[in-house]
């Protein structure tokens, strides 16, 4: 097995940390954008860009409530995202076992 087996969308430090953090929550739980940003210590712009890439792949979904300054965004891992992370860690384990 080679590193090509690792999902390239997940195999990026920031996106890997986003998915692993969300996977620590129970299935169906959401996390506010602010708390996620504080936990990962990313800039808002950087986090948004990574979230959009993951959302485009249906690995997570975002919900926005309210308007303007008072708007709140929350993020949740989808079943597809959890499965993709499980496959990624399994591939990583297999890869490391072969080294």
């Amino acid at each position: 097995m080679t590193a090509d087996a690792l999902d390239p969308l997940i195999h990026v430090p920031a996106r890997l940390r986003i998915l692993v953090t969300l996977a620590a929550l129970n299935d169906g739980d959401t996390l506010s954008f602010t708390r996620l940003q504080n936990m990962l210590d990313l800039t808002p712009g950087n986090l948004i860009t990574h979230l959009r890439k993951l959302e485009d792949a249906d690995y997570l979904s975002t919900q926005k409530t309210g308007n303007g300054v008072a708007s709140l965004t929350s993020v949740t891992l989808t079943h597809r995202g959890r499965a993709a992370l499980d496959s990624y860690t399994k591939a990583l384990r297999d890869l490391l076992a072969g080294i």
Binding site: P13, L16, T30, L31, N46, L51, T73, T89, L92
Partner: protein, 224 residues
């Protein structure tokens, strides 16, 4: 949710450089441990709970230890027990609020449901306690044996149901241990009910705190 940021701003992406498999595995482990610590209430909450049983229940037991004929615990002991319960509840609530800040969805709904179930179980048990006294059951049984054990068993039973439904095995084990200890202690009269329940539940909470500490530090098995 406690978010305050709008996500309309656009950003430039920082991919963060190349990751080799070992670095990726280390990142998964490190991030998992950090996330668990952030989302779980700290084991210190369980240690505080153990303190309530050791010192609160212990104080009541201490105030009754020389009674040959049951006359009830001293007022200071009951006041001390309630003081510890209130202080512990306030600190635990603070820990829980910190852990769940920004977490929403199913977790919030489940927590509200669990709160309602536990409150109903506790209130039901206390109402029965009042009814038993009203029906003429002795102080020794109502306040000496039933009081320190049955409401606790009811609260633990409600919590056990939720722990099982969420597959939270350490919490389920703790709730079952509390039920077993409190119910067994009723065979030993008021002194046993207060003393054994205090000692046993305090130890059970310390064991739970130790299990939680190990779990929070244990990395997921990516590199093994």
């Amino acid at each position: 949710m406690n978010g305050s940021h709008d996500t309309d701003e656009t950003g430039t992406i920082d991919e963060g450089g190349e990751l080799d498999p070992r670095q990726a595995a280390a990142l998964v482990e490190q991030t998992t441990i950090q996330a668990r610590r952030q989302f779980a209430p700290p084991p210190l909450g369980a240690v505080l709970g153990a303190g309530v049983f050791f010192f609160g229940y212990g104080a009541v037991w201490w105030s009754m230890r020389d009674q040959h004929v049951y006359s009830g615990p001293a007022g200071w002991a009951i006041a001390f027990l309630y003081l510890l319960i209130v202080a512990s509840a306030l600190v635990s609530r603070r820990f829980l609020a910190r852990a769940t800040t920004g977490v929403g969805g199913r977790a919030r709904r489940q927590m509200a449901g669990m709160g309602a179930a536990v409150a109903a179980a506790g209130i039901g048990a206390w109402v029965v306690q009042g009814a038993l006294r009203y029906l003429g059951v002795s102080f020794k049984i109502v306040y000496g044996v039933y009081g320190p054990t049955v409401p606790l068993i009811a609260l633990a039973a409600a919590a056990a149901g939720f722990a099982a439904a969420q597959e939270k095995w350490p919490e389920l084990g703790l709730a079952i241990a509390i039920i077993a200890i409190a119910s067994t202690s009723t065979f030993f009269g008021p002194l046993g009910a207060w003393g054994l329940t205090g000692l046993g539940c305090g130890i059970a909470l310390l064991v739970y705190a130790a299990v939680l500490t190990v779990w929070l530090r244990r990395p997921p098995s990516v590199q093994r």
